[in-house]
Amino acid sequence: MTSRREGSPFAGLSTIALKEAADHMNSIRIHLVMVLVLLTAIGSVYAAIGQIKATVGEDQFLFLRLFTTAQQPLPSFVFFLGFLVPLVAIALGFDAINGEYNRRTLSRVLSQPIYRDALLTGKFMGGLLVIAICLLALWLLVTGLGMLLLGLPPSSEEITRGLAFLFASFVYAGVWLAVAMAFSTIVKSPATSALCALTAWLLFTVFWPMLAPLIAGAVAPVDPLDPLTAVHQIDVQQAIARISPNTLYGETTLALLNPATRSLGLLFTDQLSGALMGAPLPFSLSVALIWPQLAGMIAALLVLFTIAYVSFQRQEIRA
């Protein structure tokens, strides 16, 4: 760049973020997706409460069970969230940039004293704000339903773990928002970018668990005479599966919402000798356990945003 412009690159950031959030809050698209999420959430939590009332006598972490208990045919709240949060994020971000471009409003916005940095970051922040509000509302709704129907207040440990779960869900949604925005900057047509984002979503939530063993089998074949190759293959398979943010999110919620989880990988029996199974891990150790997953998601969010940023900054936007 030969000419550096003056002033803060983030001037007008909050204006854009709030405007974007307000637009989302009023759009039919988000209303529909949120109604879908709310209905499934209420349904699964209501079923979970019924199941807890019927089967669980006493549990140290009753409120965490609200999130993880599933009753046929409804899956658990966590499963719904892992499945639908990407959909919300994609709905928020798939036409963030190319939509403006196609409506020919981009150059109008940028003719204001606002840098592209602020526009992209502001749109991302606006999306994150909407997601944060929705997730917080959802979390409060579930906790409130639990208090109302179970008649118990949550303990401080449960609240801490619940908030950590909320944060992990937020980061997970941020990853998918970054994916959608990256597509929206790279692809010119909103329909194509939506399809691209949905394809990525389907690939990682539905097909990736099937693909991981196949790839692992090809990369690290099992030698029947050497049992360690089987261990190696499982390690490779797990590493491949962890490319999917869905897997990372699943492991994170498992460790946070089920305090008895002590390891997420393959374990040998000698590691379990003398171990007290079922004893809950302290919160700090649970966080230490899922920190690599969480760090991976945060890093993925930053990388995807950087891709969107670089792509957007280098684009020709005059139409």
Binding site: M1, R4, R5, G7, G274, L289, P292, G296, I298
Partner: protein
């Protein structure tokens, strides 16, 4: 029974055969009379009226009432009315004949019936060692019955109790039960109720039971001459020091008392307990790194604990060492600190593990389950931060490269 009835022969012709038989019975000695009645068969059973008693000669304590059972028997005769009297008693004596709980002066014996009566005598004070001969007489319309009796007044013997333990000294530890078998005997002439007392060192519990019964006693009735076996159980306090402890047991009742001494020989016993740092049985350790916990061995027994070896059963791959490996002696009431260094396996997963720590000595041992919360290395945390930092650096580079357009 000794026949003592005396009757005059009947003079009426209808009963002369019976009167004759009775006269023969009276003339002969007792075994002969039995033999005769057996020989004369059931048809010839004796007929007549008798006044008898089982104890015609007896002794009694001066100043106390005496009761003598009497019997008026009628065999084969019509109902006979008999009027009673007592002859030959010295002055100052009182007598009374009771029948059916009331004083009576006459009785009617039905055919083949027996009337039970009681002669009550009240001798005056004194007159010890003197023999008194008297006779109970019965008068019918036709004959006179006479029952001579002899009585000697004796001095009242003092009440006497004896207590005799079968095994007066027992040995055991402070935790064992000491059961003594003690015979108690009433050697006096009167029944009495005996109170049982004991005096033991403080903290010792003494309970009385009878024989193999389960009820605890404070007193028991003993008839004259009767003997019973008491089971006296002594429970020493758990912290009793080694030594000999006497327990005095006494019985008193009816103006007499007896006592005996039981001895408990308590041998000392060490009692070792193992406790974790500050009494807690849990601690933290990081995988692959040594952590030392200070365990405390204490001896709450009554003898020194010797040669206490320390050992542990840790999970696989763990290393546990002790400093010192062996404790030579802990005096009663004393404590000793042992440093236990635990190194969790490098492969240990985060969370709780159970490590069993034991101390084994001569006759005393204890074990403690120590719960170790393993923390895994923070290496992954740093790596995660590094990954986030790297991607943030990339973003920062992109901003400086393409920023502010």
């Amino acid at each position: 029974m000794i026949p003592a009835g005396i009757r005059a022969p009947f003079s009426t012709p209808t009963t002369w055969i019976a009167a004759g038989l009775t006269a023969i019975g009276l003339a002969s000695t007792v075994p002969q009379a039995h033999a005769q009645s057996a020989a004369s068969a059931a048809a010839q059973s004796p007929t007549g009226l008798w006044l008898t008693t089982p104890y015609p000669e007896f002794s009694a304590q001066a100043g106390k009432n005496v009761s003598v059972p009497l019997k008026l028997a009628n065999r084969g005769l019509p109902p006979q009315r008999v009027e009673f009297g007592v002859d030959g008693l010295p002055g100052g004596w009182k007598w009374e004949i009771d029948g059916g709980g009331k004083p009576v002066t006459a009785a009617i014996a039905d055919p083949d019936g027996t009337v039970g009566l009681t002669l009550k005598l009240t001798p005056p004070e004194g007159d010890i060692g003197k023999g008194v001969n008297f006779a109970v007489s019965g008068k019918t319309s036709a004959e006179a019955l006479k029952l001579p009796m002899a009585m000697t007044l004796t001095k009242t013997e003092p009440a006497k109790l004896t207590l005799e333990p079968k095994l007066p000294a027992l040995r055991g530890t402070a935790k064992s039960a000491f059961d003594f078998q003690v015979d108690i005997k009433n050697d006096g002439q009167e029944d009495s109720t005996v109170n049982l007392l004991s005096k033991a060192p403080p903290g010792f519990q003494v309970t009385f039971k009878q024989g193999y019964g389960s009820q605890e006693l404070t007193s028991l009735p003993l008839k004259a001459g009767e003997s019973k076996t008491l089971s006296i159980s002594v429970q020493p306090p758990d912290n009793a020091q080694a030594g000999q402890y006497p327990v005095a047991v006494a019985a008193s009742g009816g103006g007499a008392s007896a006592d005996t001494r039981l001895l408990l020989d308590i041998t000392g016993r060490p009692s070792v307990s193992l406790s974790g740092p500050q009494g807690r049985l849990s601690g933290d350790a990081t995988a692959g790194q040594e952590r030392t916990f200070t365990f405390t061995l204490s001896n709450s027994g009554s003898a020194p604990a010797r040669d206490l070896k320390l050992s542990a059963s840790p999970p696989a791959g763990w290393k546990v060492t002790f400093n010192p490996e062996k404790v030579d002696e802990i005096a009663p009431g004393g404590t000793s600190n042992v440093g236990v260094s635990m190194t969790p396996s490098n492969q240990a997963i985060a969370g709780d593990y159970m490590v069993s720590v034991r101390a084994n000595g001569d006759g005393a041992s204890d074990s403690a389950n120590f719960r170790v919360t393993v923390r895994t290395s923070t290496l992954w945390g740093v790596t995660g931060l590094g990954v986030i930092g790297a991607s943030a650096l990339m973003l920062a580079f992109a901003v400086t490269r393409y920023g502010r357009r």
